[in-house]
Amino acid sequence: MSIGCRDLRVSAGGREVVAVSRLDVPAGETLAVLGPNGSGKSTLLRALAHLGGAARSGSVLLDGRTATTTELRRAVAAVLQRPVLQRATVLDNAAAGLRLRGVRRGEARHRARPWLDALGVAQLAGRDARTLSGGEAQRVAIARALAVGPRVLLLDEPFTGLDATTRTDLLADLRAALDRQRAAVLLVTHDREEARALADRTALLVNGEIRQLGPTAEVLDAPADQECATLLGFTTQLPPALTGREVLLVARPERCRPLAGSAPPPPDAVVVEGVLRRVVPLGGAFRLDLDTPAGSLTAVTTAVLTEGPGDAVRVAVAAADLRACR
């Protein structure tokens, strides 16, 4: 089953926080909605499931047809950012979604158990859910949603607050679990790596609007405008005034190399000059903050710089590492 929306608008406190004219997630596909904090990601997710009390207009579609709240309730399962578990055992929590849909306890437990296994928490089945770590609780929350066998699965930043190892493991387990069913999956996240690991396509949401939408690898590598560039980590931004080009050029700071002394720049590189404001050690690398006539600029280098704050520094970015933005 596919989920989508047309002209979906959500207001909160008299302000429009989400305005999405069109979005479609076909069955079997995972779409990531990538956006900075406060961009309206969670609001969009909730609006798609008709959850919460925010004022909304427009329509949510299931299989291309405008869906009612009841139809959405049956089709959709959503995992919230923070795992909200019940005062019960892990197994009963995993079975809770089914129980809430009227499945008898015995059968619900029976159907939930394989999902605990798929998410790697089967050994915790008998534990009190309130004694779980954050990562374990999130795994149980995801198993609970998957156990329902939803035709649409909505994930609201399910990896937030997990340590790096736990997160990587969970991403792998979730990917495998999602492959087992043909649900339309919408993942809301602010993390590019999560989108890269899970999503076929990615939408960039900025200020409640979808700025870019396409295959994940393409979208993550080609920001359309300055805000998307910042969101995607292209935080070294070279305005036309600095480069003499017609458009804004952006690059990842780790692709910007300071030029030593009077060394000539690589042939196709764009070179900008600035005054070194400070050097921030990043553990194995250094972040250089430069002041240029057109604003500040950031570069990351592993080389040990001879220049100090106040010195003039040249930074080169290879043409292949530059992206042109509107």
Binding site: A77, Q86, L100, R101
Partner: protein, 233 residues
Amino acid sequence: MDVLGEGLLEALRLLLTGDEQTWEITGLTLRVSLTATAIAVLLGVPVAAALALGRFRGRQVLLAVANTGMGLPPVVVGLFVTVLLWRDGPLGALGLLYTPTAMVVAQAAIAVPIVVALTAAALRQVDPDFLLQMRALGATRVRALGALLAEARLPLLAAAMAGFGAVVSEVGAAQMVGGNLAGETRVLTTAAVLATSRGQFALAIAFGLVLLVIAFAVNLAVTLAQHRTTAPR
């Protein structure tokens, strides 16, 4: 000290030999107070849910009213119920004054604010996203609310027990609307007051002991229930 010691012995004898009058009074006490508590729970939990979860004007004021109501003097409730049920009163035609029903009404009125205030507090302690998450899993509004009440079952039980504890031990309202009629509306508290005023201290102590046993039994039940549901299975 002698009076107390002899009183205790006599009380134990009364209880252990199965004094019919004592047990009859105990039975009525439990019947009236448990019924009143049940009514208070049925009325109070939905009100508390609306106050705890709803978003409407005056919610805070109503919560404050419920909190104030927790300290409602039983005598004042007894007075109002008496006036309502008085022969010439608004509900006088029902002929309920000096009946166990009148006592149930008065005690329910005492217990409702306690149940409302404690239940509202209990529901507000559950994760604020709980209902949303239940809905997000496909629960209907009613099922989600059921899950919320189940989640807060221990504090809800405590709220009901607090209501019961308040009404089983109150004397003012029971005396005023029940009239302490032997064999009809005499409960443990009113019986204890009467026995004391007559100088029948052993009898009064016996009634007091039964009240203490009831209180202990209630608390033991709650404690066991809490232990059972918090221990990992």
